[in-house]
């Protein structure tokens, strides 16, 4: 018994480098040997899915990408799944891509190449267009709301906006039917809600990193955002709903095991804490 107690006390004070090593292994192994755990879509992911399903034919969808390589594992599967969903419905939806982050343009181009070009063989300028990044943070959002053509005179490839067929009739934010923001921080979802979606009543959904979901929940519950894809679990849930598994789903195996291991560490730490506390109380008593 004493040996067990000493072992627990030792584990409770373990060097953090051992924790790093163990976390490294528990994340790596499920990525190499997938567990294929079933994903159960939640209420918020279903709301996004249902809203996209319910879009009228030939809807004009504005997709805003504000994430970079660091948050790519969380947001990129959401964006590719959304694009897949929109194009697979085959209802003539048009996708217009803008970026509030410079890194977002790289990410968006990758997503469009993977889904629109290679998977669906769609035509640039007729089915989707990459308007690109503009500096200015929330000023870009305000500019899109008031006069998109003043802000975007050319697209990301340098083509004039007037020469792009699908830009006909698009002058301001209210000309869009739906907005999806794939956001990892500032500027992002909050700016879109505050300056675009809420004042104009254009419906919007979002996909954010797990840590941002706290901040976005009040907007979701208030109906200002129609559902939310919450981090990698949200991405995996959306992949499950559209039936196309990707890196969101494969990442969930690693995340599941890692979370359990962290809980185990917390449990061990508390066990050691209680034993220490009991010992020091006994020591004080004697």
């Amino acid at each position: 018994m004493n040996y067990l107690v000493e072992l627990i006390l030792k584990l409770a004070k373990v060097d953090r480098r051992w924790i790093f090593l163990i976390i490294g292994f528990v994340v790596l192994i499920p990525l190499i040997y997938p567990l294929a755990l079933p994903i159960r879509p939640g209420k918020d992911s279903k709301e996004v899915y249902d809203f996209v399903e319910g879009l009228a034919d030939s809807s004009k969808v504005l997709l805003s990408c504000e994430y970079g390589p660091s948050t790519k594992p969380e947001i990129h599967p959401m964006v590719t799944s959304l694009l897949h969903h929109l194009f697979s419905l085959d209802r003539g939806h048009k996708v217009y891509v803008v970026c509030l982050w410079p890194d977002g343009q790289f990410m968006a181009e990758e997503a469009l190449e993977e889904v629109a070009e290679k998977r669906f063989g769609l035509t640039y300028g007729e089915d989707y267009v990459m308007l690109g990044f503009r500096p200015g943070n929330e000023a870009v959002v305000k500019g899109i709301v008031s006069d998109l053509r003043k802000l975007y005179t050319i697209d990301a490839k340098g083509t004039k906006i007037e020469d792009i067929p699908m830009m006909e009739g698009i002058n301001r934010f209210e000309d869009f039917d739906f907005l999806f923001s794939g956001s990892a921080g500032y500027p992002g979802t909050t700016e879109w809600v505050q300056f675009a979606a809420d004042p104009t009543s254009v419906p919007m959904s979002t996909g954010t990193t797990s840590i941002q979901v706290n901040e976005m929940m009040p907007y979701v519950l208030g109906g200002q955002i129609k559902g939310i894809l919450a981090g990698m679990p949200g991405a995996a849930e959306y992949e499950e709903l559209i039936g196309v598994k990707g890196i969101g789903t494969s990442g969930m195996d690693a995340q599941s095991v890692a979370h359990f291991v962290i809980v185990l560490f917390i449990f061990l730490g508390n066990l050691g804490y209680f034993i220490e506390r009991k010992r020091s109380k006994k020591h004080q008593g004697s």
């Binding site: 790093f20 343009q105 000023a139 706290n214 929940m217 359990f260 917390i266 804490y273």
Partner: protein, 272 residues
């Protein structure tokens, strides 16, 4: 004194009031100034200011190399990185078919290569550190010291487990048994009587077992103890309530601070 004190305060007040009033007036010229021009002025200032920052960085790193200070070899990487980015951005396209400007994201350019093979992996590496740091911070900080800490710990565990697919395998009945055991600990702490504790735990186990058997041991019922539903509830209600109150507080703080700047009450930002 006029240039360092009164004029900056006047500029802040004028632009502050203009930006504030711009939300209430839809006069086209005024609105265009507030929504587009004013914020773009800042971006232009910031773009020119990058020269100051870049030159400062270059100066400090070069000094380190020339004076052979400790770790000067790393400064070579800093200087080399800065110069390489400038060359890739302004001088060497790498793909002659692409126009300047579009070369930043086009395939086959040096800048794109730099982004794909240097910037992206480094950004991803630094972000990945968070996984390790979250584990070590949780391990160190999550202790059951008092009621609030216990509440924080238990809601954190519920969300961590409930959010992932493995959590949906954990039956509500397992959680109920855990609650019975925790209840036994509480009874023991209050009454310090082994008999009472044994009776309480036994009664709890019998109750849960009988109820579970009668219901056929469904994994997700009672729903209140099913971790995925519980974590959803925590996210949507207590968490949102807390978020809203912090948001209101922060919003008020930002409002109060901004009004102080606009009215000239707070002048510390100019060094007063």
């Amino acid at each position: 004194m006029l240039w360092k004190r009164q004029i900056p305060i006047l500029i802040v007040s004028l632009i502050g009031f203009a930006t504030l009033l711009g939300w209430f007036f839809d006069q086209p010229t005024f609105k265009s100034f507030v929504d587009d021009d004013a914020t773009q002025w800042f971006d232009i200032l910031a773009a020119f200011a990058i020269f100051l920052g870049g030159l400062n960085l270059l100066k400090l790193q070069t000094q380190k190399v020339l004076m052979k200070q400790k770790g000067w070899q790393y400064s070579l990487f800093a200087i080399g990185g800065l110069l390489f980015a400038i060359v890739a951005g302004f001088f060497v396209k790498g793909n002659p078919e692409v126009a300047w400007g579009a070369h930043v994201t086009s395939k086959g350019t040096l800048f794109k290569w730099m982004f794909n093979y240097m910037v992206s992996p480094m950004q991803a590496t630094m972000f990945a550190l968070l996984a390790f740091y979250v584990a070590s911070a949780s391990y160190r900080a999550f202790r059951i010291r008092n009621f609030e800490a216990t509440l924080l710990l238990s809601s954190g565990i519920i969300i961590m487990i409930g959010r992932v697919p493995l959590g949906s395998y954990i039956s509500s009945w397992f959680i109920l048994y855990l609650i019975v055991l925790v209840g036994g600990i509480v009874v023991n702490t209050i009454f310090k009587n082994k008999q009472y504790t044994a009776v309480a735990v036994l009664a709890g186990i019998i109750l849960v077992t009988v109820t579970g058997s009668s219901m056929g041991w469904p994994v997700d019922k009672p729903a209140v103890f099913y971790l995925p539903y519980l974590q959803e509830w925590i996210y949507r209600y207590p968490n949102s309530a807390g978020s809203r109150s912090i948001m209101i507080g922060i919003g008020l703080g930002i409002f109060g601070t901004s009004i102080r700047y606009i009215l000239g009450i707070e002048r510390s930002y100019i060094g007063e």
